[in-house]
Symmetry: C2
DNA sequence: GCGTTGTGTATCACAGTTTGATACAGTAGA
DNA sequence: TCTACTGTATCAAACTGTGATACACAACGC
């Protein structure tokens, strides 16, 4: 479920943060649910456990996870009740959309196709 | 038109590459059109000109720009006729979409709103 | 032709970031 | 309370991004 690619130019921590956020947003990880320990997950992914611990801490600072010394890490109840202002979030999403449209056009994929892909992804979402 | 943010965590080169790609994809820069020299653009953006030169080279390696020693840099004719396989491009776009849906859900923005934002961006595209 | 000016290229050095190693400290449960 | 398991803190090595600066090629005016 949670994956990283050692070859990617994106840092391991960023990949972990993104991957875990996606798991939470998609419902693969529910509020309250425990995550594997940093050491255990790092073993599965074949990276250093400190890297996982750092990703956990970053997600905690963003209000997604609950992390405490000596205890298991879990998804924060309320991870899905954002505290960031909507306007900013929307601006952020717009930037992402512009980026996708850029990639699509440069790759010769037309915009109706992108719309369709969005619809598909939405219905694939749990 | 081309902008960078020195405060951003994204590297200057990546920002430039993204920004220029967007300009090409949106038609603000047309195939054949000359870009400002690295030194000139760097002056406008208040960064080192070597950084701009590096972004130009990266875009050249991706087939977007035509760069040659001693000559002005321009948008490659055929920048919009991609040579990357469609299947790969679509996978790439899907990843981008998943990322946007993740951000939306975590920010409490619902999916119909995302669809609408996409429609808006598409119609705003030149 | 030839010099001047403008362009991108190459390479080195410094700074910041990412990752790994390892010692530490808190928690839970037998 | 002891053990096994959590996350935390901190230092060092490797890597990456950026800047400085010397170089080489092209265009243009004389």
């Amino acid at each position: 479920m949670i994956q990283v690619d050692t070859e990617s130019s994106e840092s391991l921590i960023d990949q972990l943060v993104r991957s875990i956020k996606q798991a939470v947003a998609s419902g693969q990880l529910s509020p309250g649910q425990e995550l594997p320990s940093a050491r255990q997950l790092s073993g599965d992914l074949d990276i250093h456990w400190n890297t996982v611990a750092r990703a956990y801490r970053q997600l905690a600072s963003e209000g997604i996870l609950f992390v405490a010394h000596g205890r298991k890490t879990c998804v924060r109840k309320g991870a899905l009740q954002s505290d960031t202002p909507k306007a900013e979030a929307i601006k952020n999403i717009q930037e992402g959309i512009r980026d996708i449209l850029t990639r699509a056009r440069l790759a010769g994929v037309d915009f109706p196709a992108v719309s369709m892909l969005l619809k598909e992804e939405i219905s694939a979402w749990k």
